[in-house]
Structure formats: C-alpha cells, structure tokens
C-alpha cells in the first residue's frame, strides 16, 4: 500500500486555471496512503478508456439497509489500497450550512478511516466520505454519529431530502425550506435507512420558482415556493430601475402572461393572471417582492431517464399552505405522502418511479387512489382526443 504510481495522463489535468481534482486526490494520498492506488487505477482508466470498478458486492452498517455504496477495484492485487473503496453517505445540514469545527473533524475522520476524500455534495445532496473498507465502516459511522450526523439514503428507499438556502439567506424564499426539509427527514428516518420501496423516492424543497435545487427536474415530490396574493411594488424603486434599465423590454415583454404594464410612471400588475414565475422579481429585486400569503406548489413525478425516459414534475397541488400545516406537524402532507406511498406500493412494480406509475395507470387513477380531485391546474390543456371512457357513476 502507498506505492507511488506514474500518472502521466492525469498529470496533464494538474495544469490549467480551474481547480484540479487530480491535485485533490494527491493531497488526499499525502494523508491516507491507500489513495495512491486510486491514482494508479484512474491512470489506467485514462489509458484504457474504461472504468476499472467491479460491479457487485455490498457494503453497509448493522441495522441499516442504506447509506453506503460498495465499490471494489477490478485489480485488487495491483491496487490493494482500493480493493474495497466504499463510500458513506451522510445527511447534510439543511441548506448545506456548516461551521469549521465540524468540517475539520469530518476531514480527520475521512483521513483516519478512509481515503481522505470527500464529496461536497453527492448529486442528491449527501456528504460523501470515500475510500473505506467494510471493516472500517462501523468506525466511520460511529465517529460521524458522535458529531451528530446520521447516514443518508441509497437504493430503493427515501433518498436524503434536500433544500435550497431558503429563508436563511434568500429574500425570494416563500417558505422555510430548511425547516420542512429537516422535519420530514426526521419523520421518515426509517424509510431513509431501510429500503422498502419499489425504487428510489426523492423529496426536494425550493423556496421559489427559480428552483435552485432543481426539484421539479429531479424529485418525485417537489415543493416550489409560491404566493397567493399580490406582488408588493415599491414604485420609487421601480422609477430607479427605469433610469438604468429598459424595464419594458427586459421585464414586461418577458412576462409569460403579459400581466404587467405601465400606467404613466406607475407599474401595474394584474396579479390574478400572474403565474409566479419569478422573472420580474429576479430582475427588479429592490422594487418587487412576493406577497404575504405564502406557501408552495407541489409537483410530482420528476426523474432521470431510466427506465422509461426523463420526466419533469407535474402540478399536483397548486397551493399547499405549509405554514398552517406546520402548526399541525404537517398532518395534511403526511397523509398525502402516506396515500401516495401506499398506492405506489400496491400498484407499482419493481424499479418503477412514481411518475412512471402515473404515466402507466393514468393521472385519474392515481388521483382517485390518493384522494385528490382533478383540477384544471393539473393539465397543460384538457384532452384533445374524443376517446373518453365514461364510467357508470357519471350520469
């Protein structure tokens, strides 16, 4: 272990202005010798143009069915340091806020028990510690737990929920994304740690329609902040913007519903026709603010391509009153989620995401199953074909 390897191809990636991951792996290897072998194997991949990881083989900690991803080298004799090179997923602090004390201790753990490499963050939002063996997993787990951190999701379970910086550092946030993300993670720990679903299920919370955590592109259930009442206008600030920006061209003309115009110098908004897209507020943040009746739209079914193609989240609940429901410990939302998971468990098949299930059985069947009424907000437009299946309960 710890043998230096020649890496002429990777060395090319130490040049240039952008921060070099090769340099980072080398720095990790200075503290955790095993990581020298990672450099050696990746150099071989660069030469051979294929990855050299085996598929198959589990890793985990006792009483958890998730939170670790097993990774084994294809060349364990040549690269014994990464014979086992598992990663551990750790639930992040909501909004990815940390302090130096925690991060330093985590860096120490990663060097003492693993390869000295970390991901901030994985694609779903976990902190990942890379490069440990199965024998070391329990030590890492307990060391991390002593810092007050727990393992995240993996496999067919609830994946680690994630959220934007929300009200901690953003005036656009229409609800407390960090609080609901934290509270629901706590509520569903068992679903997170012990896979019992058909496939993965993701929850993401964005404070506004800018959707900084890409909830509507990635999560089975996406919460996007919105408001019901009028956009608040500071007319003096509007005038200031008009002095330096073509507000007509870059704001009003770009409004998707053309719901705003000038009457003299006064900006007028037809709020009933506003779709809360955030464009005008993005461009004129000092002049415009979202209203006071805040909540979130809930979109369902987003996912990446496998198996039946990518899906964007579709509107399920136009306005969810989070603040009201939070007073009742999210009773309404938990009921909705519980109905969804039951329907998915009953009718979904293995490796079928909930969006794919809705696609297969139809939105009406799904709505009946979870107890929601059809409303026009759910569709881009009503059907345009005449193949209506009338049912007997409708006269």
């Amino acid at each position: 272990m710890g043998k230096k390897h020649q890496t002429p191809l990777l060395d090319e990636l130490k040049k240039g202005k952008w921060i070099s991951f090769v340099r980072e792996i080398e720095r990790a290897a200075e503290k955790s010798e095993r990581t020298e072998d990672l450099l050696g194997q990746v150099e071989e991949s660069y030469r051979d143009k294929v990855n050299h990881w085996k598929h198959g083989g589990m890793a985990g900690v006792k009483s958890y069915g998730a939170g670790m991803v097993g990774r084994f080298s294809e060349f364990p004799d040549k690269y014994p340091g990464i014979k086992e090179c598992h990663s551990m997923r750790i639930i992040p602090s909501a909004g990815f806020f940390y302090n130096s004390d925690f991060l330093r201790k985590l860096a120490d753990i990663s060097e003492k028990y693993a390869g000295g490499l970390l991901n901030f963050h994985g694609a779903t939002g976990n902190i990942q510690v890379l490069g440990m063996s199965q024998a070391e997993a329990e030590d890492v787990f307990q060391a991390v737990a002593e810092l007050g951190f727990d393992l995240g999701g993996s496999g067919s379970d609830l994946r680690t929920p994630s959220c934007c910086a929300g009200q901690a550092r953003c005036e656009f946030a229409n609800y407390d994304t960090m609080k609901i993300c934290h509270d629901l993670t706590e509520e569903y720990l068992d679903e997170l740690h012990r896979p019992a679903f058909n496939y993965k299920f993701k929850l993401k919370f964005s404070g506004c329609a800018n959707d900084c955590v890409a909830s509507a592109a990635r999560s089975d259930l996406a919460f996007i902040g919105t408001w019901k009442d009028k956009i608040k206008i500071n007319q003096d600030e509007v005038k200031n913007y008009v002095k330096k920006l073509n507000v007509q061209k870059y704001v009003l003309d770009k409004c998707p519903t053309k719901c705003m115009w000038f009457e003299g110098e006064k900006l007028v908004i037809d709020d009933e026709n506003c779709v809360k897209c955030m464009h005008c507020i993005n461009v004129l943040p000092k002049a415009l603010r979202s209203g006071d009746e805040k909540g979130a739209s809930i979109l369902i079914g987003a996912k990446a391509p496998l198996v039946t193609g990518p899906r964007m989240g579709m509107m399920l609940v136009p306005f969810y009153d989070i603040n009201e429901d939070a007073k009742n410990d999210y009773e309404w939302l938990k009921g909705l989620i519980s109905n969804m998971w039951e329907f998915w468990d009953e009718y979904g098949v293995s490796r079928e995401r909930i969006g794919e299930l809705i696609g297969r059985v139809g939105l009406n069947t799904f709505l009946e199953g979870i107890g929601l009424e059809p409303i026009p907000e759910m569709v881009g437009h009503p059907r345009s074909n005449p193949f209506i299946k009338f049912t007997e309960d409708e006269d």
């Binding site: 090319e12 980072e24 792996i25 990855n51 806020f97 939002g125 550092r169 870059y250 955030m278 990446a304």
Partner: protein, 361 residues
C-alpha cells in the same frame, strides 16, 4: 484488565440541527431578507429589512475534495467569517461574511491559495457532475477530467460576467444521469454504443432474471435457456445501449473502450422564470472519449457558447435563444450535422414533430 464500559452504539439519530451552523446575522434575519445585489461575479450582498448586510463570496470546487482542501476553507472561514460557510447545489463553497472589510482580503487570500472565485450572475456556473472513472462502475467516460478540461478553457466565463444569461453546464457519465443533467443549458452525457455482453454463468449466480428483464426500456431482454439452464438473451436490433440492465445485473457489462464516448445536449432549464422548465435536446449524438483533455467536447461546448453569446439577447437562456431562432438555424450556425439520431423514436416521439407550416427559409 480494567473493565471497559462499552459505549452505546449510536443509531438513527437523524439530521443534524442546522441552527447550530447559522451565523448570528443569519439567525437574526432568518426570513427577513429584503433584497440582494450581485457586486461582481464572486461577490453578492444580501440586505435585511433592518439594513444588516451579509456578504457572500463564492468559490469553485471540484466537488471531490481532500481533507486538506476542507482545512483550507475552514482556515479562511475562521479568519474572516467566524467559522461559517456553506456549499451550493452546484458544489461551490460560499463564505458568509458579516463585516464588509473582510470581503476583499478574503478574496485575495483565496486567490493567493490558487482557488477560483466567481460563478455568480451571467456566468458559466460550476459544472455539476458525477463520479466517472474515479468511482463508478457504470460510467461510459470520466467526469472530473472532462469538467476540468471544459472549465480550464471557459475559465474567463466563471470569473467575468459576459454572457447573455447564466449558463448551466452539467455532466453525467451514463444515462442514469445522477444530477439535474437532463435539463441544463448544455449537458454532456456519457454514452455507450454497443449492447451488453452476457456472462451466462455469472448471470445465473448473481442476477434476478425478472428484474433484469424489467430493467429494459425497449423490452429487448427476453428469457432464454443457456446450456439447459435459465438465462436471458438480448435483441440487439432494439437495444438502445442504455446500460439499465447492467445496473441491476452485474453479469451484463456494457462498457466498451472503443465505442463509449459522450453526447452533447442543449437548451434545457430548471427555473420557471419566463418560460417553463424544459429538457435539454440532442445537439451532437457522439464524440469519442479522448482523454486526458477531450478536445472534441471542449470544442463543441465552445462552438455552442460562442453562437449563444453572439446571437442571444440579454437575459435569454440558451434554450430560449434557440426557441426564438429555431432549431434549423441552430444547426446551421453551429455547423453540427443534423442526423437521423436527432429524430426521436422513443416513447412520446410523435409529440416532438413540427405539426405546422412554420419554417424559417
């Protein structure tokens, strides 16, 4: 031997309370921010209703970092931010500064240490990416190497505000597409081009046949009898080389050094601002893997970016620009050939045709 008190095993302790990590100014103004301003591509200020100002300095990271990197950013956070910092969804580090006087010295320190400050405004954002050859068994390409090569070449667009709008590039090393790759301004996706190879003996021991069959999006996997024992066969006529079967069955490897590479997709977006969220669409079906610097991919991205910079109006995202000028013009301007692969033939393909006489001649 002294009696050791066995420590109780900690389990299911749940997420850490984020309140432990919020700076005093953030705690004080939680939910009370009034507006923010971008001061330069590395700095923004959030102003609270009571006039408090919180400065943020953003720094790029390669996502995969060493413990030493972590200590570097902790030193900076201790020196200037009372130890407080956060990460963004696109893997940047953000230093949260309560005293304006600390902003410039902090940036100077980062630059002295060789770190990249930028990524706010009309810029190329940090490229979200996957693990690639460094740590993934299904990858059709490396991730970090391509990202490094592209960011080195486009570095000026991370540190200077000179694009029509924010431009988000994402990278996925296979069709699993970890990350929001399928709705990015420019997406780079690892692509296989040959069917999986079946190792019948390993398959019998390792794989569950029904779930392997169910993993296929085109129903190309069928039950088969191999040497009198249960197995599967692949209809190579209909296989689309997605690698989904390999994800569930390790005995169907699909990586192929000579035939794996990358495809380029454009015009997706996640935000609802102005136009609805959309998926990225195919620009280039295949570019061979060319490590360590992937010049073909870098050139393609530069071609798209230059055309966008030239043609888009201020505030237009890549997809909005293409939507305005039309796809025929996009292919003409970039010089990318339009091929049979650009015409969709999967589920919902019919919905993607041009049902009108609208055409730019």
């Amino acid at each position: 031997m002294a009696e050791e008190i066995k420590k109780k095993r900690l389990t299911d302790i749940g997420p850490h309370d984020y309140n432990d990590y919020l700076s005093p100014m953030i705690k004080k103004n939680y939910g009370k921010w009034a507006f923010h301003e971008i001061l330069d591509p590395g700095t923004m200020v959030h102003v609270a209703e009571n006039g408090d100002k919180l400065y943020t300095v953003r720094m790029g990271s390669p996502r995969l970092v060493s413990g030493s990197f972590v200590r570097d950013i902790c030193d900076i956070a201790d020196k200037y931010c009372g130890g407080h910092l956060r990460f963004t969804t696109r893997n940047n580090v953000e230093f949260l500064i309560e005293d304006e006087k600390n902003v410039e010295p902090l940036k100077k320190d980062l630059e002295k240490m060789g770190y990249n400050v930028g990524g706010i405004g009309n810029i190329i954002a940090n490229i979200v990416h996957t693990q690639g050859w460094i740590h993934c068994h299904t990858s059709a390409s490396d991730a970090s190497g391509v990202v490094k090569s592209v960011m080195d070449e486009l570095y000026e667009y991370f540190v200077e505000d000179k694009l029509p709008s924010k431009t988000r590039i994402a990278f996925a090393c296979c069709l699993n597409m970890c990350g929001s790759v399928s709705s990015s301004d420019i997406a780079i996706v690892g692509t296989h081009r040959k069917p999986p190879r079946i190792d019948a003996e390993r398959l019998r021991n390792l794989c569950e046949i029904p779930s392997t069959i169910a993993a296929c999006p085109t129903n190309s996997i069928r039950p088969d009898t191999v040497d009198g024992k249960p197995g599967v066969k692949v209809n190579e006529e209909t296989c689309v080389f997605c690698g989904s079967c390999y994800t569930v069955c390790p005995a169907m490897p699909i990586a192929n050094a000579e035939n794996d590479g990358l495809s380029i997709w454009v015009g997706g977006k996640v935000s609802n601002a102005r136009t609805k969220p959309t998926f990225s669409k195919l620009a280039i079906p295949f570019i061979p893997n060319d490590p360590p610097r992937w010049p073909g991919v870098v050139d393609a991205i530069k071609t798209i970016l230059n055309a966008y910079k030239e043609g888009a109006e201020p505030g237009e995202r890549v997809g909005e620009w293409i939507e305005r000028i039309g796809w025929s013009r996009f292919f003409k301007i970039t010089g990318f050939p339009f091929t049979k692969y650009h015409i969709d033939d999967f589920r919902l393909a019919e919905t993607t045709m041009n049902y009108s006489s609208h055409t730019r001649l």
